[in-house]
Protein backbone atom coordinates (compact mmCIF):
# COMPACT_ATOMS: atom_id res chain seq x y z
CA UNK A 1 0.00 0.00 0.00
CA UNK A 2 1.12 3.50 -0.74
CA UNK A 3 -0.73 6.79 -0.36
CA UNK A 4 -3.67 6.90 -2.77
CA UNK A 5 -4.05 10.41 -4.01
CA UNK A 6 -7.76 10.25 -4.89
CA UNK A 7 -8.60 8.92 -1.42
CA UNK A 8 -6.75 11.83 0.21
CA UNK A 9 -8.28 14.43 -2.11
CA UNK A 10 -11.81 13.13 -1.56
CA UNK A 11 -11.35 13.11 2.22
CA UNK A 12 -9.62 16.46 2.59
CA UNK A 13 -11.65 18.38 0.05
CA UNK A 14 -14.58 18.45 2.46
CA UNK A 15 -13.23 21.62 4.03
CA UNK A 16 -15.65 23.89 5.88
CA UNK A 17 -15.04 27.32 4.35
CA UNK A 18 -16.97 29.18 7.04
CA UNK A 19 -14.54 31.64 8.61
CA UNK A 20 -14.55 32.79 12.24
CA UNK A 21 -15.07 36.43 13.32
CA UNK A 22 -11.62 37.29 11.86
CA UNK A 23 -12.30 35.53 8.56
CA UNK A 24 -9.93 32.72 9.46
CA UNK A 25 -10.85 29.10 8.86
CA UNK A 26 -9.53 26.68 11.47
CA UNK A 27 -8.87 23.49 9.54
CA UNK A 28 -6.26 20.74 9.92
CA UNK A 29 -4.97 22.50 13.06
CA UNK A 30 -3.82 25.56 11.12
CA UNK A 31 -5.60 28.78 10.23
CA UNK A 32 -6.35 29.42 6.57
CA UNK A 33 -8.23 32.14 4.80
CA UNK A 34 -10.40 32.32 1.74
CA UNK A 35 -9.18 35.05 -0.56
CA UNK A 36 -9.54 35.39 -4.34
CA UNK A 37 -6.38 34.33 -6.14
CA UNK A 38 -6.52 37.52 -8.19
CA UNK A 39 -5.70 39.41 -4.99
CA UNK A 40 -2.57 37.33 -4.45
CA UNK A 41 -1.54 37.61 -8.09
CA UNK A 42 -2.15 41.36 -8.13
CA UNK A 43 -0.02 41.74 -5.00
CA UNK A 44 2.84 39.88 -6.68
CA UNK A 45 2.49 41.77 -9.95
CA UNK A 46 2.54 45.17 -8.21
CA UNK A 47 5.44 44.43 -5.92
CA UNK A 48 7.49 43.08 -8.84
CA UNK A 49 6.55 46.03 -11.05
CA UNK A 50 7.54 48.48 -8.32
CA UNK A 51 10.97 46.91 -7.80
CA UNK A 52 13.90 48.60 -9.57
CA UNK A 53 15.47 46.44 -12.28
CA UNK A 54 18.63 45.79 -10.28
CA UNK A 55 16.65 44.58 -7.25
CA UNK A 56 14.02 42.38 -8.91
CA UNK A 57 15.94 39.21 -8.04
CA UNK A 58 15.92 40.19 -4.37
CA UNK A 59 12.18 40.91 -4.43
CA UNK A 60 11.59 37.60 -6.18
CA UNK A 61 13.62 35.84 -3.51
CA UNK A 62 11.52 37.63 -0.88
CA UNK A 63 8.29 36.33 -2.41
CA UNK A 64 9.66 32.79 -2.48
CA UNK A 65 10.82 33.23 1.12
CA UNK A 66 7.34 34.32 2.22
CA UNK A 67 5.83 31.22 0.61
CA UNK A 68 8.57 29.08 2.13
CA UNK A 69 8.03 30.36 5.69
CA UNK A 70 4.29 29.87 5.35
CA UNK A 71 4.71 26.44 3.74
CA UNK A 72 7.20 25.23 6.34
CA UNK A 73 5.08 26.07 9.37
CA UNK A 74 1.66 25.40 7.82
CA UNK A 75 2.98 22.23 6.16
CA UNK A 76 4.17 20.95 9.53
CA UNK A 77 0.73 21.71 10.94
CA UNK A 78 -0.93 19.77 8.16
CA UNK A 79 1.23 16.65 8.24
CA UNK A 80 0.98 16.39 12.03
CA UNK A 81 -2.76 17.14 12.13
CA UNK A 82 -5.35 14.69 13.36
CA UNK A 83 -7.07 14.46 10.00
CA UNK A 84 -3.78 13.80 8.15
CA UNK A 85 -3.07 11.15 10.74
CA UNK A 86 -6.47 9.57 10.17
CA UNK A 87 -6.61 9.81 6.38
CA UNK A 88 -3.03 9.64 5.10
CA UNK A 89 -0.91 7.89 7.70
CA UNK A 90 -2.69 4.49 7.46
CA UNK A 91 -1.60 4.38 3.79
CA UNK A 92 2.03 5.33 4.48
CA UNK A 93 4.37 2.42 3.82
CA UNK A 94 7.27 4.22 2.17
CA UNK A 95 8.08 6.71 4.93
CA UNK A 96 8.86 10.27 3.90
CA UNK A 97 8.13 9.61 0.23
CA UNK A 98 4.54 8.67 1.09
CA UNK A 99 4.18 11.63 3.45
CA UNK A 100 5.20 13.91 0.58
CA UNK A 101 2.70 12.20 -1.71
CA UNK A 102 0.05 12.86 0.93
CA UNK A 103 1.18 16.47 1.32
CA UNK A 104 0.82 17.19 -2.41
CA UNK A 105 -2.56 15.45 -2.45
CA UNK A 106 -3.64 17.74 0.42
CA UNK A 107 -2.27 20.71 -1.49
CA UNK A 108 -4.39 19.67 -4.47
CA UNK A 109 -7.46 19.10 -2.29
CA UNK A 110 -7.18 22.65 -1.01
CA UNK A 111 -7.31 23.91 -4.58
CA UNK A 112 -3.86 25.51 -4.70
CA UNK A 113 -2.52 23.45 -7.59
CA UNK A 114 -3.06 20.07 -9.12
CA UNK A 115 0.43 18.91 -8.35
CA UNK A 116 2.39 15.77 -7.61
CA UNK A 117 5.76 14.05 -7.56
CA UNK A 118 7.45 13.07 -10.82
CA UNK A 119 10.80 11.88 -9.46
CA UNK A 120 12.15 11.53 -5.97
CA UNK A 121 15.63 10.58 -4.87
CA UNK A 122 15.28 10.38 -1.13
CA UNK A 123 17.02 13.18 0.73
CA UNK A 124 18.66 14.46 -2.45
CA UNK A 125 16.33 15.54 -5.19
CA UNK A 126 12.66 15.87 -6.05
CA UNK A 127 10.90 16.93 -9.25
CA UNK A 128 7.34 18.24 -8.97
CA UNK A 129 4.89 18.87 -11.79
CA UNK A 130 1.93 21.20 -11.39
CA UNK A 131 -1.10 21.90 -13.55
CA UNK A 132 -3.60 24.76 -13.23
CA UNK A 133 -1.79 26.60 -10.42
CA UNK A 134 -3.10 30.08 -9.79
CA UNK A 135 0.23 31.83 -10.36
CA UNK A 136 0.06 30.70 -14.00
CA UNK A 137 -2.56 33.44 -14.44
CA UNK A 138 -0.39 36.22 -13.01
CA UNK A 139 0.97 39.02 -15.14
CA UNK A 140 4.68 39.61 -15.52
CA UNK A 141 7.74 38.15 -17.17
CA UNK A 142 9.53 34.83 -16.89
CA UNK A 143 8.88 31.94 -14.53
CA UNK A 144 6.96 33.28 -11.53
CA UNK A 145 5.35 30.49 -9.52
CA UNK A 146 6.90 31.79 -6.30
CA UNK A 147 4.37 30.14 -4.01
CA UNK A 148 4.94 26.67 -5.48
CA UNK A 149 8.72 27.12 -5.32
CA UNK A 150 8.66 28.11 -1.67
CA UNK A 151 6.20 25.43 -0.75
CA UNK A 152 8.07 22.61 -2.52
CA UNK A 153 11.27 23.60 -0.77
CA UNK A 154 9.38 23.68 2.56
CA UNK A 155 7.85 20.22 2.05
CA UNK A 156 11.22 18.68 1.22
CA UNK A 157 12.81 20.35 4.26
CA UNK A 158 10.01 18.94 6.44
CA UNK A 159 10.51 15.47 4.99
CA UNK A 160 14.28 15.12 4.85
CA UNK A 161 16.03 17.91 6.79
CA UNK A 162 16.44 18.09 10.58
CA UNK A 163 13.17 17.80 12.51
CA UNK A 164 10.91 20.84 12.69
CA UNK A 165 11.80 23.66 13.40
CA UNK A 166 15.54 23.08 12.93
CA UNK A 167 15.56 21.94 9.33
CA UNK A 168 14.91 25.21 7.56
CA UNK A 169 16.96 26.17 4.51
CA UNK A 170 18.51 22.77 3.91
CA UNK A 171 17.16 22.49 0.37
CA UNK A 172 16.44 24.91 -2.44
CA UNK A 173 13.82 24.83 -5.20
CA UNK A 174 14.17 26.08 -8.77
CA UNK A 175 11.37 26.40 -11.28
CA UNK A 176 12.33 24.93 -14.66
CA UNK A 177 9.04 25.15 -16.58
CA UNK A 178 5.90 27.21 -16.28
CA UNK A 179 2.45 27.48 -17.81
CA UNK A 180 2.90 31.25 -17.49
CA UNK A 181 5.68 31.12 -20.12
CA UNK A 182 3.89 28.72 -22.48
CA UNK A 183 4.92 25.30 -21.16
CA UNK A 184 2.21 22.64 -20.74
CA UNK A 185 2.86 22.46 -16.99
CA UNK A 186 4.98 23.93 -14.23
CA UNK A 187 8.02 21.96 -13.12
CA UNK A 188 10.00 22.43 -9.91
CA UNK A 189 13.28 20.84 -8.93
CA UNK A 190 14.32 20.63 -5.28
CA UNK A 191 17.98 19.91 -4.49
CA UNK A 192 20.38 20.43 -1.62
CA UNK A 193 21.30 24.04 -1.06
Amino acid sequence: MTVMRDTVVKSLAKINVQGDENGLIPEYEVLVNLLPVSLLNTFTERIMAAAPADRKAEVEAGLVRAAYECGYHTGCGIITSEIFNDVVMPMVTEGEKDILRGAYAAFTAWGWAKSGIVQLKEGEKMIIRAFDYYEADSGGEGLRAYMLRGLSQAFFDLAYADPYPDGMDTYVCHQTKGIEVGDPYGEFVVTKK
Partner: protein
Protein backbone atom coordinates in the same frame (compact mmCIF):
# COMPACT_ATOMS: atom_id res chain seq x y z
CA UNK B 1 1.22 -2.49 -44.42
CA UNK B 2 3.52 0.40 -43.45
CA UNK B 3 6.77 -1.25 -44.55
CA UNK B 4 8.06 -1.96 -48.00
CA UNK B 5 9.05 -5.43 -49.03
CA UNK B 6 10.98 -6.30 -52.13
CA UNK B 7 8.68 -8.75 -53.81
CA UNK B 8 9.99 -10.77 -56.71
CA UNK B 9 8.35 -13.25 -58.99
CA UNK B 10 10.20 -16.43 -59.82
CA UNK B 11 10.01 -16.31 -63.59
CA UNK B 12 7.85 -18.96 -65.13
CA UNK B 13 6.91 -20.70 -61.90
CA UNK B 14 4.18 -18.33 -60.74
CA UNK B 15 5.17 -18.47 -57.06
CA UNK B 16 5.84 -15.35 -55.07
CA UNK B 17 8.84 -14.92 -52.81
CA UNK B 18 9.19 -12.17 -50.27
CA UNK B 19 12.59 -10.68 -49.51
CA UNK B 20 13.71 -7.72 -47.55
CA UNK B 21 16.02 -6.08 -45.07
CA UNK B 22 15.49 -5.99 -41.32
CA UNK B 23 16.54 -2.35 -41.29
CA UNK B 24 13.31 -1.57 -43.20
CA UNK B 25 10.99 -3.73 -41.13
CA UNK B 26 11.35 -6.06 -38.18
CA UNK B 27 10.62 -9.70 -37.58
CA UNK B 28 7.49 -9.01 -35.55
CA UNK B 29 5.93 -6.98 -38.37
CA UNK B 30 6.84 -9.71 -40.82
CA UNK B 31 5.27 -12.40 -38.62
CA UNK B 32 2.10 -10.35 -38.29
CA UNK B 33 1.91 -9.83 -42.04
CA UNK B 34 2.36 -13.51 -42.86
CA UNK B 35 -0.06 -14.51 -40.13
CA UNK B 36 -2.76 -12.18 -41.44
CA UNK B 37 -2.40 -13.57 -44.97
CA UNK B 38 -2.40 -17.21 -43.76
CA UNK B 39 0.83 -18.10 -45.60
CA UNK B 40 2.60 -21.47 -45.42
CA UNK B 41 6.36 -21.72 -45.85
CA UNK B 42 9.60 -20.61 -44.23
CA UNK B 43 11.28 -17.30 -43.45
CA UNK B 44 15.02 -17.64 -43.79
CA UNK B 45 17.00 -14.98 -41.94
CA UNK B 46 20.64 -13.93 -41.98
CA UNK B 47 21.88 -11.55 -39.30
CA UNK B 48 24.28 -8.71 -40.11
CA UNK B 49 27.02 -8.48 -39.11
CA UNK B 50 28.09 -11.99 -38.21
CA UNK B 51 26.08 -14.03 -40.69
CA UNK B 52 24.13 -16.03 -38.08
CA UNK B 53 21.22 -17.89 -39.65
CA UNK B 54 17.64 -18.37 -38.50
CA UNK B 55 14.49 -20.05 -39.79
CA UNK B 56 10.82 -19.68 -38.97
CA UNK B 57 8.25 -22.10 -40.43
CA UNK B 58 4.53 -21.47 -40.93
CA UNK B 59 1.54 -23.58 -41.80
CA UNK B 60 -1.53 -21.58 -42.80
CA UNK B 61 -0.23 -18.59 -40.92
CA UNK B 62 0.44 -20.52 -37.72
CA UNK B 63 4.00 -20.51 -36.41
CA UNK B 64 5.19 -24.13 -36.17
CA UNK B 65 8.92 -23.84 -35.63
CA UNK B 66 11.73 -21.34 -35.04
CA UNK B 67 15.48 -21.86 -35.01
CA UNK B 68 18.28 -19.37 -34.40
CA UNK B 69 21.75 -20.95 -34.48
CA UNK B 70 21.74 -23.55 -31.70
CA UNK B 71 18.52 -22.19 -30.16
CA UNK B 72 15.19 -23.72 -31.13
CA UNK B 73 11.53 -23.19 -30.30
CA UNK B 74 10.50 -20.11 -28.27
CA UNK B 75 14.12 -19.51 -27.22
CA UNK B 76 15.07 -19.38 -30.87
CA UNK B 77 12.18 -17.06 -31.66
CA UNK B 78 13.09 -14.79 -28.74
CA UNK B 79 16.63 -14.54 -30.08
CA UNK B 80 15.37 -13.74 -33.58
CA UNK B 81 13.04 -11.00 -32.30
CA UNK B 82 16.07 -9.13 -30.96
CA UNK B 83 17.70 -8.91 -34.41
CA UNK B 84 17.56 -5.46 -35.95
CA UNK B 85 20.02 -5.86 -38.82
CA UNK B 86 19.99 -8.55 -41.49
CA UNK B 87 18.00 -9.93 -44.41
CA UNK B 88 14.97 -12.18 -44.73
CA UNK B 89 13.57 -14.35 -47.47
CA UNK B 90 10.17 -16.03 -47.30
CA UNK B 91 10.03 -19.29 -49.22
CA UNK B 92 6.44 -20.41 -49.86
CA UNK B 93 5.66 -24.09 -49.38
CA UNK B 94 8.82 -25.05 -47.42
CA UNK B 95 7.85 -27.55 -44.71
CA UNK B 96 9.37 -27.89 -41.22
CA UNK B 97 10.97 -31.21 -40.37
CA UNK B 98 9.52 -30.98 -36.84
CA UNK B 99 7.31 -28.76 -34.71
CA UNK B 100 9.01 -26.92 -31.84
CA UNK B 101 6.58 -23.99 -31.29
CA UNK B 102 3.03 -24.88 -32.44
CA UNK B 103 1.32 -21.65 -31.38
CA UNK B 104 -0.55 -18.83 -33.05
CA UNK B 105 1.71 -15.98 -34.10
CA UNK B 106 0.29 -13.61 -31.44
CA UNK B 107 0.74 -16.15 -28.71
CA UNK B 108 4.23 -17.15 -29.87
CA UNK B 109 5.38 -13.50 -29.96
CA UNK B 110 4.03 -12.84 -26.48
CA UNK B 111 5.72 -15.93 -25.06
CA UNK B 112 8.99 -15.03 -26.79
CA UNK B 113 8.83 -11.46 -25.49
CA UNK B 114 8.36 -12.80 -21.95
CA UNK B 115 11.54 -14.84 -22.44
CA UNK B 116 13.37 -11.76 -23.75
CA UNK B 117 12.21 -9.74 -20.72
CA UNK B 118 13.48 -12.46 -18.44
CA UNK B 119 16.87 -12.46 -20.13
CA UNK B 120 17.11 -8.65 -19.87
CA UNK B 121 16.20 -8.83 -16.18
CA UNK B 122 18.86 -11.45 -15.53
CA UNK B 123 21.42 -9.24 -17.23
CA UNK B 124 20.41 -6.33 -15.01
CA UNK B 125 20.45 -8.27 -11.75
CA UNK B 126 23.18 -6.11 -10.16
CA UNK B 127 21.14 -3.72 -7.94
CA UNK B 128 24.03 -1.35 -7.18
CA UNK B 129 24.57 -0.77 -10.87
CA UNK B 130 20.85 -0.18 -11.39
CA UNK B 131 20.75 2.53 -8.69
CA UNK B 132 23.81 4.23 -10.15
CA UNK B 133 22.30 4.17 -13.62
CA UNK B 134 19.01 5.62 -12.34
CA UNK B 135 20.90 8.37 -10.56
CA UNK B 136 22.63 9.30 -13.81
CA UNK B 137 19.40 9.02 -15.76
CA UNK B 138 17.76 11.63 -13.56
CA UNK B 139 20.24 14.12 -14.95
CA UNK B 140 19.25 14.01 -18.59
CA UNK B 141 18.20 12.03 -21.66
CA UNK B 142 15.39 12.30 -24.20
CA UNK B 143 12.29 14.07 -22.89
CA UNK B 144 9.44 11.84 -21.74
CA UNK B 145 7.02 13.70 -24.04
CA UNK B 146 9.08 12.61 -27.06
CA UNK B 147 8.96 8.99 -25.93
CA UNK B 148 5.19 9.24 -25.38
CA UNK B 149 4.78 10.59 -28.89
CA UNK B 150 6.79 7.66 -30.26
CA UNK B 151 4.50 5.28 -28.35
CA UNK B 152 1.48 6.94 -29.94
CA UNK B 153 2.87 6.23 -33.40
CA UNK B 154 2.59 2.49 -32.80
CA UNK B 155 -0.40 1.24 -34.71
CA UNK B 156 -3.32 0.40 -32.42
CA UNK B 157 -2.41 2.68 -29.50
CA UNK B 158 -5.01 5.36 -28.79
CA UNK B 159 -3.53 6.97 -25.69
CA UNK B 160 -0.55 6.72 -23.36
CA UNK B 161 -0.43 7.80 -19.75
CA UNK B 162 2.27 7.89 -17.07
CA UNK B 163 0.95 7.70 -13.53
CA UNK B 164 2.72 8.06 -10.18
CA UNK B 165 2.29 5.24 -7.67
CA UNK B 166 -0.16 7.50 -5.84
CA UNK B 167 -2.34 7.90 -8.96
CA UNK B 168 -1.07 11.34 -9.97
CA UNK B 169 -1.26 11.64 -13.77
CA UNK B 170 2.23 12.87 -14.55
CA UNK B 171 1.93 12.94 -18.31
CA UNK B 172 -0.38 11.76 -21.05
CA UNK B 173 -0.57 11.82 -24.84
CA UNK B 174 -3.23 10.99 -27.38
CA UNK B 175 -6.85 10.67 -26.48
CA UNK B 176 -9.19 7.85 -25.81
CA UNK B 177 -12.94 8.21 -26.01
CA UNK B 178 -13.10 4.94 -24.10
CA UNK B 179 -11.30 6.00 -20.93
CA UNK B 180 -11.10 9.12 -18.74
CA UNK B 181 -7.37 9.61 -18.15
CA UNK B 182 -7.66 11.04 -14.60
CA UNK B 183 -9.94 8.20 -13.53
CA UNK B 184 -7.58 5.73 -15.18
CA UNK B 185 -4.70 7.15 -13.12
CA UNK B 186 -6.51 6.71 -9.83
CA UNK B 187 -7.86 3.27 -10.75
CA UNK B 188 -4.48 2.01 -11.96
CA UNK B 189 -2.81 3.10 -8.73
CA UNK B 190 -5.37 1.17 -6.68
CA UNK B 191 -5.14 -1.90 -8.92
CA UNK B 192 -1.35 -1.99 -8.91
CA UNK B 193 -1.26 -1.52 -5.16
CA UNK B 194 -3.41 -4.62 -4.82
CA UNK B 195 -1.33 -6.56 -7.31
CA UNK B 196 1.92 -5.65 -5.57
CA UNK B 197 0.51 -6.67 -2.23
CA UNK B 198 -0.48 -9.99 -3.77
CA UNK B 199 3.01 -10.42 -5.23
CA UNK B 200 4.49 -9.69 -1.84
CA UNK B 201 2.18 -12.19 -0.10
CA UNK B 202 2.98 -14.86 -2.67
CA UNK B 203 6.69 -13.98 -2.58
CA UNK B 204 6.90 -13.85 -6.38
CA UNK B 205 8.88 -10.62 -6.75
CA UNK B 206 7.63 -7.26 -8.06
CA UNK B 207 4.98 -6.84 -10.75
CA UNK B 208 6.38 -6.66 -14.28
CA UNK B 209 3.40 -5.93 -16.48
CA UNK B 210 -0.36 -6.23 -16.66
CA UNK B 211 -3.00 -6.55 -19.38
CA UNK B 212 -6.62 -5.82 -18.67
CA UNK B 213 -9.04 -6.73 -21.43
CA UNK B 214 -12.47 -5.13 -21.31
CA UNK B 215 -15.25 -5.31 -23.88
CA UNK B 216 -14.38 -1.92 -25.40
CA UNK B 217 -10.74 -1.35 -24.45
CA UNK B 218 -7.53 -3.12 -23.58
CA UNK B 219 -5.09 -1.54 -21.13
CA UNK B 220 -1.46 -2.63 -21.03
CA UNK B 221 0.64 -1.28 -18.19
CA UNK B 222 4.21 -1.62 -17.03
CA UNK B 223 6.35 -0.03 -14.30
CA UNK B 224 8.62 2.77 -15.58
CA UNK B 225 11.04 3.78 -12.85
CA UNK B 226 8.95 4.76 -9.84
CA UNK B 227 5.84 5.35 -11.96
CA UNK B 228 3.58 3.20 -14.15
CA UNK B 229 2.98 3.65 -17.87
CA UNK B 230 -0.22 2.47 -19.52
CA UNK B 231 -1.29 2.30 -23.14
CA UNK B 232 -4.90 2.05 -24.26
CA UNK B 233 -5.87 0.11 -27.33
CA UNK B 234 -9.35 -0.67 -28.68
CA UNK B 235 -8.97 -4.46 -28.70
CA UNK B 236 -6.50 -7.30 -28.18
CA UNK B 237 -5.83 -8.06 -31.86
CA UNK B 238 -2.53 -6.18 -31.92
CA UNK B 239 -1.43 -6.86 -28.36
CA UNK B 240 1.55 -9.02 -29.35
CA UNK B 241 3.03 -6.43 -31.67
CA UNK B 242 2.21 -3.59 -29.26
CA UNK B 243 3.91 -5.40 -26.43
CA UNK B 244 6.99 -6.00 -28.53
CA UNK B 245 7.19 -2.48 -29.94
CA UNK B 246 6.58 -0.73 -26.63
CA UNK B 247 9.28 -2.66 -24.80
CA UNK B 248 12.25 -0.43 -25.65
CA UNK B 249 10.20 2.76 -25.31
CA UNK B 250 9.01 1.74 -21.84
CA UNK B 251 12.63 1.08 -20.91
CA UNK B 252 13.55 4.54 -22.16
CA UNK B 253 10.63 6.05 -20.29
CA UNK B 254 11.83 4.48 -17.05
CA UNK B 255 14.85 6.81 -17.20
CA UNK B 256 12.56 9.82 -16.74
CA UNK B 257 10.64 8.64 -13.69
Amino acid sequence: MPVQYEESMAAGKGDTSLKGNLSLTNITDLLQFLSSSAKSGMIQLVRHPGGQEGKIHFVAGELVSAVSGDLAGLEGLADLLAWDQGTFHFQPGAVASKTNVGLSVQHAIMEAVVLLDKQVKENQSNPTKAVEERSLDMQGGRGSNEVLNDLLEISGIDAVVVVGRDGFVIESAGSSARVNIDELGASLAHAINGIEEMGSELNVDRFQDMFIEYGRAVILCKPVGDAVAAVITPDASKLGIIRHKTKKLFEELSHSF
